[in-house]
Symmetry: C2
Subunit: 399 residues, 2 copies
Amino acid sequence: MTGQSTYPSASAIVVGGSIGGLTTALLLRDLGFHVDVFERTASPLDGRGSGIVLQPDTVRWFTERSSQDLADLHTATAYVQYLDPSGAVVHREPALWTYTSWGTFYRALLADFGTEHYHYGEFASGFDQDADSVTVRFVSGRTASADLVVFADGITSPAREYFDPEAKLAYSGYVGWRGTVALGSLDPATQEVLRDSITYTVIPHSHITMYPIPGEQSLDEADRLMNYVWYRNVPAGPQLSELLTDKRGFTGSVSVHPGQVQDRFVDELRAAARAQLAPAVADVVVATEQPYLQVLSDVRSSRMALGRAALIGDAACASRPHAAAGTAKAAADAWALAEALSTASGDIVSALAKWEPAQLQLSDSLLRRVVDMGERSQFRNTWTPGDPDLRFGLYGPGL
Amino acid sequence: MTGQSTYPSASAIVVGGSIGGLTTALLLRDLGFHVDVFERTASPLDGRGSGIVLQPDTVRWFTERSSQDLADLHTATAYVQYLDPSGAVVHREPALWTYTSWGTFYRALLADFGTEHYHYGEFASGFDQDADSVTVRFVSGRTASADLVVFADGITSPAREYFDPEAKLAYSGYVGWRGTVALGSLDPATQEVLRDSITYTVIPHSHITMYPIPGEQSLDEADRLMNYVWYRNVPAGPQLSELLTDKRGFTGSVSVHPGQVQDRFVDELRAAARAQLAPAVADVVVATEQPYLQVLSDVRSSRMALGRAALIGDAACASRPHAAAGTAKAAADAWALAEALSTASGDIVSALAKWEPAQLQLSDSLLRRVVDMGERSQFRNTWTPGDPDLRFGLYGPGL
């Protein structure tokens, strides 16, 4: 392992035990840190079926360090296609992309990290540091101290406010309707249209994209799920507030979970899908039992390093998923952090300061690109089928 | 009853079944409306023990219309006193004030309205109207239409955004720590100090006020509860965010409920009370099993009437409780609305338009006064014991 002996007696806390946090924890452990991961959810999260497009940074743990075979974790498609609302193919090109599901990938990373130092049900609400250590406070009453803390706790990270009090979520003007449907449950003709492609339908001020991801049980085609995001404009104000008010009367700031979206909005979604989207694409949306909502907002902290504390992934910078690069960005932050630490001769504060500028720049460039992609789709109506500038990628279109 | 025949075939929806909503519903029913009340909570709210200082508008239903005896609903004290941190009396004057508890008053109003048209567990998330009626949408999937809707759904009212999209909560810079303690559970000497007064302790950038309210069982002195609000400055930013993050990891925007405040903050509260407040006053704070938090913010809608929809009470304008006039304001809005309707010859839209200006003015004047009172206490250190400008009152100090 790289730098095994660099931090033999140092300790690290990782706040947030999802993909970015687990990747960080694994890399820090390889550097010799004693690592504890604190995850706010109370139990393992098998149910989260949403899809992840695999990018090189996302899978780097498996290609370079893990004994697990990456081939066991993903599905693939051979084409990118655009269907117009009638169902006609308006663009189709060969392009290999691979996908995983959040649950499949999470379980693989957790298998490598183990559960002994993975703590469920711990929500970090604040931290302090002095010259020698950092102490994280949890709402359970627990505190934990270490030489390094990495916050990988997502778009709602309470830690971000310590790094940049001015970094607030700015609503994009549209939401993502998301869902998954068993591919095998669809009409055979629909399955044939969708099974080997990323499929888009572009309509005025909107588009939808979908692709097949692994099911929770296996990679078999029989278990696969069609996973989609449909981007739809909703003006800020009462209309947005009502859409985000769930069946219990709670108003989501970043999402409304499966099963919690008000029935009237699910009914409207299904009717709109049938009226506006290609028939095969509409089939998937209409068949979704519990579609859910992601509020698309932009936020970027102007700092990612603060003494012995680092902010990574969506906690540091989150935006719209058009580049399919959010998970890759978190992994890239983690790898760069590990590399900075491995060459810092044990000086954590210097390593973080050295690590920060390139990651801020990467955040900034990704954010600008996905904002432009979103504006093209939702407001300028220039999302042109086949335009190479619209390809997925962390470092640039297709990169 | 006044104007019994004015609206014999009209219908009204009241959203929010707390004190302001029930007062409105009773007055509308007296005008002939068929009234339905929709309350978001799922069951009767016996547990809410917080205190209400009675003002003439608050009790007007009981003094003018109800067969219930107001004397059965309140306690009273004969003095206002200021104790310094040593416990010495620095000011004391005779001043009769009466108090109820939220639960006592709520149950009395509900007894008059009845439960047949009082619907629990219905959260209104939006509404629309045309020339003839207004339709309210609930997250349950239910809709309800009527000739008039009154939103009395409190400081977090989703309806406010329809009336004034710019009306946002503005944090005051301080929070209210609240709680109740059985008077009889306190040291006898402490009981004697507190039992017949409103008691204040003023310290730099802060003050606390407390008074005895009815218990949940009876008005007997043996059942009484000491009820308090301690105003403490907390800067916006990570410190406030952490304080408002509850034991489950949820962050309150307007309150953190009893039992949900993180233990470390309750511990700090008790230690600070002992160190900073008069001994008898500190006894109450220290003895509170589940102190809770109210975030003090100011918000005022620039409109209260929108066609057939009215916004009243905290839904329209909410601020700091220094004048003890929030409940009175809601009741005053309701009475003025009923009076406007009773002289409008059945024209609801005109009645609301005619009702609005004076209530906006009342909101504005109350808001300015309580903001000034709060600034005097928390930032200017000019909350002078005995200053008549600091008296409770909806229309002015002591009025």
